[in-house]
Symmetry: C2
Subunit: 285 residues, 2 copies
């Protein structure tokens, strides 16, 4: 019960998994879910991801000790602005957005003195959306990046503690560091997956096997959600594209110049780096 | 028993799976495996992927009705040249190589009049190698491309029939068509996966989650094997890189020019195309 009343705005895949994780570990007194579709709130309630579902955030946030913004990134800032005036004294506001600089800037700018905002981003999820894919253990073993600003150490520690209890490893970064790193490890791979599909003629795609399927899996993610992520991290994403095109250009030159030893080096280097990070390599054959 | 004595040169992941598939369905009288490592031949024999394992191909091919070249692509041509003079009259020679134009050209050039070569490529496999990963059902539902040249309809039909019995769907293409298509659906994705890893700083990689893991899975494949595939399909791979860089450049321009509607279109288009091909989307969450 240590986190008191928790309000999850947007109990979908991520928000719903937080709810399930808190319930499973008995960490919250009450979990209030706020959504804009009755059917989703019903699902979330039936799954016990939330105790109560409300369509309006005004009522929902006023007694909450922690409010978690778990909507898509384009709605986080507007929702925050709307609820901050209504929040309980000394409550903590946090989020799970995939970008941090813009969100942290905008929310900090609109914050009340007695409310702390702790930007967070659990690096988990899938190309699927909706509470039906939520799981109490979604965050087990994942990294949760927390981007504290200022000196609210107790509140930052509360949110870090919550994520640790849900199974995540904590990494503290500045919002700027977060956005640069995520451009490379998440936004670029997404863009590359979509670009790969678009670069292949439709009639060729049917010859693709598990390699193509996995390389492009994230391209089945929600376009509306991803366009907002790209736009909130525009400069870093452009920078990552440039770095990647330079690498591809190197490959191309080595191929053109029949520098096969250099190509082998590139492949070996990639394998070595990847194998050192993803030990538990593959669930697909 | 309809395929008589089958000789599999290189009973690894693919060759071993052919052996297991033929045995399971009782389609061959004897399966002879040829390898250069005793330990692999022992494994293949114990798994019943082959009946006998031999280190030397000379003895192995002389009674075979069908010889299947299942080595890595760089050894297929040399092996073919070596065994063609020793093969039984009217036997069929086939392969499973990931490139076709160069292999078909070179083998056709060195063929005996009474031997038919049927180029084939089952589009299956993984980043893993070795007979220990072989499975009797590896080809269930996969596409096997067959690249006939000339008029040997009976022999082509025999090999197509073999693949159909192993569960594959047959697609007939010219060697040139095969190599162009595979450059896009297999070789480019591999190169992109390796390039992605190389474009990301080592210290950033640890922040990667399942999206990055899956997008780059194939980069854990064997570098020696893949460098040969790239080199045997050089021009098509370069062409596919150019097409892909153009697509990425388009994305980059739209980002730079804040043409967010266009980015949304690109993402929607990719999702639509991908979802129409890979229905059974993901085994990973």
């Amino acid at each position: 019960m240590q986190f008191g009343t928790v309000c999850i705005i947007g109990p979908g895949l991520i928000g719903g998994s937080i709810g399930l994780g808190l319930k499973k570990r008995n960490l919250a007194k009450t979990i209030i879910g706020v959504g804009h579709r009755i059917v989703s709130l019903e699902k979330a309630t039936k799954m016990h991801a939330i105790d109560i579902g409300l369509l309006n955030s005004d009522e929902a946030v006023k007694d909450a000790d922690i409010v978690i913004l778990a909507t898509s990134v384009n709605k986080i800032i507007d929702t925050a602005k709307k609820i901050i005036p209504l929040m309980k004294r000394n409550a903590i506001l946090t989020d799970v957005g995939s970008t941090k600089k813009y969100i942290v800037e905008q929310i900090s700018h609109n914050l009340r003195k007695d409310i702390t905002f702790v930007g967070a981003h659990p690096i988990a999820g899938s190309e699927q959306r909706g509470v039906e894919f939520a799981s109490a253990d979604l965050f087990e073993g994942c990294t949760c990046i927390i981007t504290p600003v200022g000196n609210h150490t107790d509140e930052v520690e509360t949110i870090a503690h919550l994520w640790r209890l849900l199974g995540a490893k904590i990494k503290y970064l500045t919002p700027e560091q977060h956005d640069e790193i995520l451009a490379f490890v998440s936004h670029l791979p997404h863009l590359v997956a979509s670009g790969l599909i678009n670069a292949i003629k439709e009639e060729y795609l049917v010859c693709g096997a598990s390699g193509l399927r996995d390389t492009t899996r994230v391209a089945s993610g929600d376009p509306e959600l991803w366009v907002d992520i790209f736009c909130q991290n525009r400069e870093n994403v452009i920078k990552s594209i440039d770095r990647f095109i330079a690498e591809l250009g190197g490959f191309r030159n080595d191929l053109l110049n029949k520098n096969d030893a250099k190509i082998l080096d590139r492949l070996k280097n990639a394998k070595l780096s990847r194998d050192s990070v993803f030990h538990n390599n593959s669930t697909n054959k």
